[in-house]
Symmetry: C2
Subunit: 350 residues, 2 copies
């Protein structure tokens, strides 16, 4: 079994740095676009066979060291009674704006609401048969609340931020419910076979550190603690959060996912003894020529310098227009990388 | 003349911390909305009498310590042949995507292209008659390029970032032209009477520090150097850039504008001997109750502790739905603030 991803999550030595890519099953793959011409997004997510097919597509092209189950962070919110459509982003039937709405939310068990996610994870585990570990995931409560309060994805997410300052107790109440829901949701995925889980805080970067601690980090801490007994590594991805990394360590996740704004070498120097790091090539760098993609990938590996506890990835999800050749260049650069000292010694011998 | 804003920009002592608000002339004011019912946005910008009227509206309500001329960062791009509409954000007739397009751009003198901005600044100076200083402004080259390449405002501005990695020389060529154009534009405003200028880098926060230095900071350095002989303070506002503040100091502007993500007290501790700071109340905090707005305003003043070189402001532009009462609470808190030691001494005497 390829366990270098799981070993790196636990800061154990590995034969080479593991690599996977956020949103690796997605629109940059022609076979995914072809699949989507046959089925709509929700059907794809809700049909285990199809979700597994989408998950496996990138693995047939690239020797990634982990597979992340194909799904969407918004789906489990049906457990709190939230109804939405996707086009392509989520649009809530009814944005959550009042204390009364939050109080009226009751949480149904995830096994009733999203059984298809557990089935997909189990099926994926069987299909992969140890080829790569399976990652489950959920949205972080603050990020989910940003969509629920705004009603859709929108730059700045002004509505949730206004609620944060005007009615912090209402937001905390909503976050409490989301925390319970996401704990249940990750437990379901782990029970079904997920060997690691990632919590996506895509919009935490909108917050200054004091608000991040109270409204984003606290819920995540509780989720991490709530799945800790299940023994799988937890990755906490904080997008656009170079100013939040030092606080985010307190989530006590095994791994922190870095966006491209954080200098990974300096971050390792400061915090590498406390947590592993995942990332962080700028996803837009994949629009460069392959040689440049390789050079930038190598620069990140050089900055980490082979220290244990690094999972190579992008700094955010891969973009739909990304050339396949760029992913190939990134993969090759990771496969061929050796620490400078080793490379220098090899050169001397030659 | 009220010169506490200009004195604070130069890190000289002031009787109290000066205050102005980014986008203080705007949709949160009923009188502005009323004005906009009569005239469209471009007419407002291009008619000096009307632009001055919009600029003066907030000053009739609030004792702000500076006025910023009502305009839009995109208007001077007509000097490079860019055509666009506003609805409400800018939409380019033809996004700039190729080297050939950049090379074909020739720069016309600003005095020919946007004479109305100079006229508005002169008129504003006369109308204010020393009541408050007048701030001129421009967009920073990287931020302007983000709109030009994308063709409109769009979360993430993927097109300019792809160009940055794929064709850095093309982007630099575009940035060179924008740098010349904006230097000319600020010089026009200063010649017309602007007593300070602000450079808005609203999208620089999308960059990691190495790319920020090359594609955002370098052009701004040249603009700052290019207006230095005119002797007015220059403010460089880097939005969403808590990770860029230490590099941004190298722009050698007199003031750095901070978004709300940077802790202003710690930033002063580190860099307050090199530059003044402007900011940085979260603009969403104005949706809280007035007492909370006052407390958060006071917390920022406390963090700075009365050190010279602070201009109070929001961390980004005021939002259209902001209650007037919140602005009043912010103003009162600034007017009544005294350093803790003085407050304690006064209490003892009483």
């Amino acid at each position: 079994m390829n366990d270098r991803f799981l070993r790196a999550c636990r800061r154990q030595p590995v034969d080479r740095t593991p690599l996977w890519i956020m949103r690796q099953a997605g629109r940059y793959l022609p076979e995914y676009r072809e699949l989507r011409q046959r089925v709509d997004f929700l059907t794809l997510c809700k049909t285990p066979d199809l979700a597994v097919e989408a998950t496996l597509q990138p693995l047939r092209r690239f020797p990634f060291d982990a597979s992340i189950i194909f799904s969407d962070i918004m789906l489990p919110l049906e457990a709190l009674g939230c109804r939405m459509t996707f086009n392509p982003g989520p649009k809530l039937a009814e944005p959550v704006r009042t204390r009364a709405q939050v109080e009226a939310m009751t949480l149904r068990p995830m096994a009733e609401v999203v059984p298809y996610v557990g089935e997909a994870v189990s099926l994926l585990r069987r299909e992969l048969d140890g080829k790569t570990p399976v990652i489950g995931f959920c949205g972080a409560p603050f990020t989910l609340s940003a969509y629920l309060v705004q009603g859709e994805g929108k730059e700045g997410f002004g509505k949730v931020k206004a609620m944060l300052f005007r009615e912090p107790a209402t937001l905390e109440h909503l976050l409490d419910k989301l925390t319970m829901a996401m704990t249940d949701y990750l437990r379901l995925q782990i029970a079904a076979g997920a060997q690691a889980v990632q919590i996506f805080d895509s919009w935490a970067g909108l917050l200054a550190e004091p608000e991040f601690r109270r409204f984003a980090l606290e819920p995540v801490k509780r989720i991490v603690a709530g799945v800790r007994d299940l023994g799988v590594p937890v990755i906490y991805f904080v997008n656009a959060g170079p100013h939040l990394v030092d606080a985010a360590v307190e989530a006590e996740s095994d791994v922190l996912g870095l966006c491209w704004r954080s200098p990974i070498g300096a971050t390792f120097d400061r915090l590498g003894s406390r947590v592993a790091f995942q990332g962080n090539l700028d996803c837009h760098a994949l629009f460069a020529e392959p040689a440049e993609v390789a050079a930038r990938t190598t620069a990140i590996l050089d900055a980490v310098g082979g220290r244990p506890g690094h999972v190579m990835n992008l700094g955010h999800g891969i973009l739909p227009e990304t050339p396949i050749a760029s992913v190939e260049a990134m993969v090759s650069a990771v496969q061929s990388w050796t620490p400078r000292e080793l490379a220098a010694a090899a050169e001397e011998r030659a």
